[in-house]
Structure formats: C-alpha cells, structure tokens
Subunit: 235 residues, 2 copies
C-alpha cells in the first residue's frame, strides 16, 4: 500500500503547511523520485487528495493546494451507522420495537427480496446528550443477519455486522428530505405541533452486492447536519 503512505504523508505535510494554500506542489516525476515509487502510485495518492478536496490538479499546469481550512466539519461520509458518529456515552438508545415480520411490497423492493420474506423490523429512539434526537426505522433481511440480539440493537447493528459477522459494508444510497412528524414521532421526540424533521433514507449494500439494510432516520433539525464533497467528473 505504497500509495496510502504517499497520501498520508502529503496530507500531513499540507496540514502542517509545509505546502501552503495555493502553493504548487512538486510535479509527478519529482514526487516519484522523492518517495521512490512510480508516477502511477503518485497519481493514485494525489487522486485521493483531490477526492478529499485538499488539492487540485490540472494537466499542463500543475498541482495546487486548495483552501482546505474552509472545510469546517470533518467529512460526513460515515457509513458507520448513527451510533458511531458520536463519542462514547454521548448517545443512548431506546428500542421501541424489535420484531421479525414479513416484508411488504415497498420494503421488499428496497431490500431486493420477495414480498413475504422475513425481515427484522426495528424502531429505535436515539437520545443524544439527553435530548431525544433521532427516530430510526430499520429493516433487514433475516437470512443475511443471523441471530441478531437485543444487545446489538441497543448499540450498533453496524458493529455487529462488521466485527462479529465479519461482513463488509460496501456502499449506501442516501436520500435527504424534509418532513413533518406523525403523532408517534411527536410524542417520542417531545415535539411541538409546528415542528419538522430531516429524513435520511438509506439503502446499504454489502460487498457481495446484497442489500442488508433499508432505514429511515428522522432527525430533529437542531442535531442534523449533512456535509459532503462533490467533485466534477469530467473526462
């Protein structure tokens, strides 16, 4: 993993301002000599820095350090579940429902299974620093996630899947919308009548391409912030 060493080293050097903002970096050949690697390895490292939004590269011109200081929040591309986004003890979980049911048409479609197949249907309330902040509705195919226990549901299902089942989470499609709470949500989140929520729909896949989770998380606005970097994919 040479390119990761190059990537981490350059990133650190930039953050330590060895290379200042808007400064041009050494070209590919020089960096390849410096690190004793091929130019392709340099390119791979630089591509990651571009993806991070830390540098730009332009053919015929060079590589330049971007103004990375304006990225005020660490990137939110979590893929780790709600639980791991907060530090130990900051988040408490109240399990409102934990049942095995048959998937209806809509959920079966999201999970790429047959209607009528068994699924876990889980509803959880996340309490962050004492404030009820998120209601999560989670649906998972029973056959993919064997032997799910209350103790997993109470903390992080992601951790169970990754650490215990040793499955790899590959990717997720997320959708963000704004919604009004229903009566149940109003009660659980202690909301006033004019309140609103930010809804994150997520369909998450394992690296064997199976969909293992469809979840709807509704966040109170005080707690919610989603940040991402969009990079233009020109030719």
């Amino acid at each position: 993993m040479k390119y990761l060493v190059v990537y981490e080293t350059l990133k650190e050097e930039i953050f330590n301002e060895k290379y200042a903002i808007n400064e041009q970096l050494p070209n590919g050949r020089e960096l390849a000599e410096l690190f004793h690697v091929s130019m392709l390895t340099i390119k791979k490292a630089m591509d990651r820095l571009v993806l991070d939004g830390i540098i730009v590269r332009r053919r015929g011109d060079g590589s330049y350090v971007k103004d990375w200081k304006k990225m005020d929040v660490a990137q939110h591309n979590h893929l780790s579940g709600t639980f791991n986004q907060f530090s130990e003890g900051e988040v408490k979980t109240k399990v409102l429902k934990f049942e095995v049911e048959r998937a209806d048409e809509k959920i079966a479609a999201k999970l790429s299974i047959q209607a009528g197949d068994f699924i876990y249907a889980i509803t959880r309330l996340r309490i962050i620093r004492g404030i009820p902040s998120i209601i999560e509705y989670t649906f998972m195919p029973l056959d993919l996630i064997p032997n799910l226990q209350m103790s997993h549901v109470e903390t992080s299902i992601y951790n169970y899947i990754q650490r215990d089942l040793r499955l790899m989470v590959h990717s997720a499609v997320v959708k963000i919308t704004g919604v009004r709470p229903d009566d149940f949500e109003k009660k659980e989140l202690h909301l006033k009548s004019n309140s609103f929520l930010l809804q994150v729909d997520q369909v998450a896949s394992l690296d064997n391409s199976r969909v293992f989770e469809f979840s709807i998380a509704k966040h109170i606005p005080e707690e919610f912030e989603f940040e991402t970097v969009i990079v233009s994919n020109k030719k």
Copy 2:
C-alpha cells in the same frame, strides 16, 4: 479515453440486462481481451461502475452486478447550479438583489478572500412550475467573475462561467441543514408561520483552486430532495 468506452459499454450492457442483477461479470483478463485493452484500463472502467453503485468487486471472488434498479432517482450530484436541474421553461427566476458590495468577515472567510474585497451579492427567487420554491443568496469575488450581467443572473451564472468565461468548475463542499424562514423569506416564498426550509450551503471551487462561489439556497420541502452514493473507502 478507452476506459470511458469500456465504462459506457459495460454500463449499457448491464442496463440492457445482458448481465443480470447479482450475476458475475467476466474477470479482468477476459474483459481486457474482449475490449483489446490492458487490465488497468478495465480496472479504471470498473472503478467508475463501482463509484456509480452499479457493481461490486471483491478480490479473490469477482465482480458482480448490483441491484441498480433500486436507485429510483438519477444521482443528484449536480454541480450545475439550480437552473440546470430543471428543464427549459420549468424554472423562472426573479432577481431580488444584484449588487456589488464589500465582503464581511464571514463571507470573506468562505470565499478565501480579504474582508473588504469587492463581491457580487445576489439574491434570487426560483419559481418552479409556478411555485416560489427556492431563495438563493449567492456571493462571488468580483475579480474572478468579470462583467457579470443581469441576463446571466436571471438564468444561470454557472452557464456564464463555464460557457463564456470557459472556467472549469472543479468541486463543491455542500452542507444540508433544516431551518426556519425569516420574515423576508416567508413573504417571498408565500409561507405560513409554521413552515420550514431545507438549507444547502455550498462553497464551490474552480480547477485552479480558487473559490468562486459561496451560496446559501433555502428550499421549500415539497421541492427538495438530495440523493447521493457513499462508497466505503477501506484499506
């Protein structure tokens, strides 16, 4: 651009179900022979398909078609400004403000310029299919975007920058939150007192690393939907 040909071809074949969902694709060597390219070119094409969320690849196992049908909306990674997200005639723009001002501390920080530097300060109301839907506050450094005209502001500043100035938009950092409208926004968007908005903050950069835009767009929830794919970057 051989890898793009491979990418487009494979994508089309998958969508035409030459390769079915969950089916294994030919391995790298075979595809390299088929397309008469090197394996690295195949890998680059496949990497893009992975990024699109269309396939998964696993070392030691193979490449598999994902359930791409569940991606119900075309990906929202626009980088094209509000105007180009809707078809011709669907969106009307009312320019509420179009001035040159001096940047205050906050805006200067976002644009990576000095407080006091000249900027365009633009406020626009976007009316989609007859419904006032978005208020956009846009700030741009004067020196980067010379000679901005009312005609550009009324349609798409992005088009002016890309087509006329021939500058390339490289990337953007976006942040999504939920907010309450102020009185001005309530009036312009015809909102009731208990309403809410989805706020998208965007800091956009050119490929020379200069920040050319800081914008705050506040969307009515009926119109707003943001979708993206998150891919795990392990190793």
